[in-house]
C-alpha cells in the first residue's frame, strides 16, 4: 500500500531516484506550457475569438477578479504566481481521471515545495510593496510583544498549507485504493468524483490563502484606514 507517489520508483542510481512524483510533475509542466504556447500562438483582438482563447480568457479574468476581491489592488503583478499555483494544483487533481495517474500533490515533497514558494513570495512581495523597513515593522504591528508570535504564525501557516494539500490529495487516492479491494464496482467511482471535487476546492483554497497572505504583507498601515492604493 503506497503512501505517496514518492515510493513508486522508475529508475535509481545510487541515491538519485526518478520516482513517479518527478515524472508526473514534469508531465504536467509539459502539458501546461505546451498547451499554453500552442493556444496563444495567434491571439485575436477582434470580436471573434477561437473557443480555446475564450476559455483561457475566462480562466485568467476569473483568477484576476478573485485576486482583486481579496484586496490586492493590482492583480497583474500577482497573477503569474497565484495563477500558476492554482493551475498546477487544479491540473494535478483533474488529471486523476486518467488511469494510472497519481497526482504529484499527493506527495509531501511537492506540497512542501509549493508552500516554501509561498513562504518566500510573501516577504518578497511585502518588501517590494512596502520597502524593507516597512515590511519588517509590520512584524511589530500590534505591539512589540507579538514579534515571536508573528514569526511562529508565519512558519505554522506554511506548514499548514503543505499538510492541508498533502492530506487532502493523499486521502483521496488512498480511499479509492482501499475501496477497490472491498467493493470494486460502484463506490470507487463515487469516491473518485468526491476526490475531484475536493481537489478543485483545495486548488482554490491554496491560491486564495496565498493571495490573502500576500495581501496581509502588502497592506498599508492601519492608521490610514481608507488609504489610497499604492502607486
Amino acid at each position: 500500500m503506497r503512501l505517496s507517489p514518492d515510493q513508486w520508483v522508475f529508475w535509481q542510481h545510487g541515491f538519485i531516484k526518478l520516482n513517479a512524483t518527478i515524472a508526473f510533475t514534469w508531465a504536467l509542466m509539459l502539458v501546461l506550457t505546451l498547451g499554453a504556447a500552442l493556444l496563444t500562438r495567434r491571439l485575436a483582438t477582434g470580436r471573434t475569438l477561437s473557443r480555446w482563447q475564450c476559455l483561457l480568457e475566462i480562466v485568467v479574468t476569473a483568477i484576476a477578479r478573485q485576486i482583486e476581491e481579496v484586496g490586492l489592488k493590482q492583480p497583474e503583478k500577482y497573477l503569474g504566481f497565484i495563477g500558476t499555483l492554482f493551475l498546477f494544483v487544479a491540473a494535478a487533481s483533474l488529471c486523476t481521471v486518467i488511469p494510472g495517474f497519481e497526482p504529484p500533490t499527493a506527495s509531501l515533497s511537492t506540497t512542501a515545495a509549493l508552500a516554501l514558494c509561498v513562504f518566500v513570495a510573501v516577504p518578497a512581495f511585502g518588501i517590494a510593496g512596502q520597502g524593507l523597513r516597512g515590511y519588517l515593522k509590520s512584524y511589530l504591528e500590534p505591539t512589540i510583544v507579538m514579534l515571536p508570535f508573528n514569526i511562529i504564525s508565519e512558519l505554522s501557516r506554511t506548514l499548514a498549507l503543505a499538510v492541508r494539500l498533502f492530506g487532502n490529495m493523499m486521502s483521496g487516492a488512498m480511499i479509492v485504493g482501499i475501496l477497490l479491494t472491498i467493493t470494486p464496482f460502484l463506490f470507487p467511482i463515487v469516491m473518485t468524483l468526491l476526490g475531484l471535487l475536493t481537489g478543485m476546492v483545495q486548488a482554490y483554497i491554496f491560491s486564495i490563502l496565498a493571495a490573502v497572505y500576500i495581501a496581509a504583507a502588502t497592506r498599508t498601515k492601519r492608521s490610514a484606514p481608507k488609504a489610497a492604493p499604492k502607486a
Binding site: M1, L3, Q66, E69, A160, V163, R164, F166, G167, N168, M170, S171, M174, V201, Q202, Y204, I205, I208, L209, V212
Partner: protein
C-alpha cells in the same frame, strides 16, 4: 507481551482513536460555520459571492485539523518508525 506486539497494539488502537476523536471537533465546527453562513446569505443575498468565498476558506482552515489527525493515523499504520525499528531488530537478531 513482547515489545513488537506492544508496539503493534498501541499503534492500531491509537490510529483508530486519532481519526475517530479527531474528526468530531471539526465536524461540529463546520456545521456551525455553514449554518451561520446560510443565515447571512438569507439576510443579504447580494453579498453571496463574498460570503461563499469566505465560507470555503473558513471550511478549509477547519478541515485542516481533521486532516492533521488523518495524517497521524496514516503514519501510524503505514510509515510507523517504531514498528520498522522493531521489525529490523527482530530480523537482525
Amino acid at each position: 507481551m513482547d515489545s513488537q506486539t506492544l508496539i503493534a497494539v498501541a499503534s492500531i488502537i491509537m490510529a483508530g482513536l486519532t481519526t475517530g476523536f479527531g474528526t468530531m471537533g471539526p465536524a461540529l465546527a463546520e456545521g456551525r460555520a455553514v449554518a451561520t453562513a446560510l443565515t447571512a446569505l438569507a439576510q443579504q443575498p447580494d453579498a453571496s459571492a463574498t460570503i461563499t468565498r469566505t465560507l470555503f476558506v473558513g471550511l478549509a482552515m477547519i478541515e485542516s485539523t481533521a486532516i492533521y489527525c488523518f495524517v497521524v493515523s496514516m503514519i501510524l499504520i503505514f510509515a510507523n518508525p517504531f514498528w520498522n525499528a522493531a521489525v529490523a531488530h527482530v530480523a537482525g537478531k
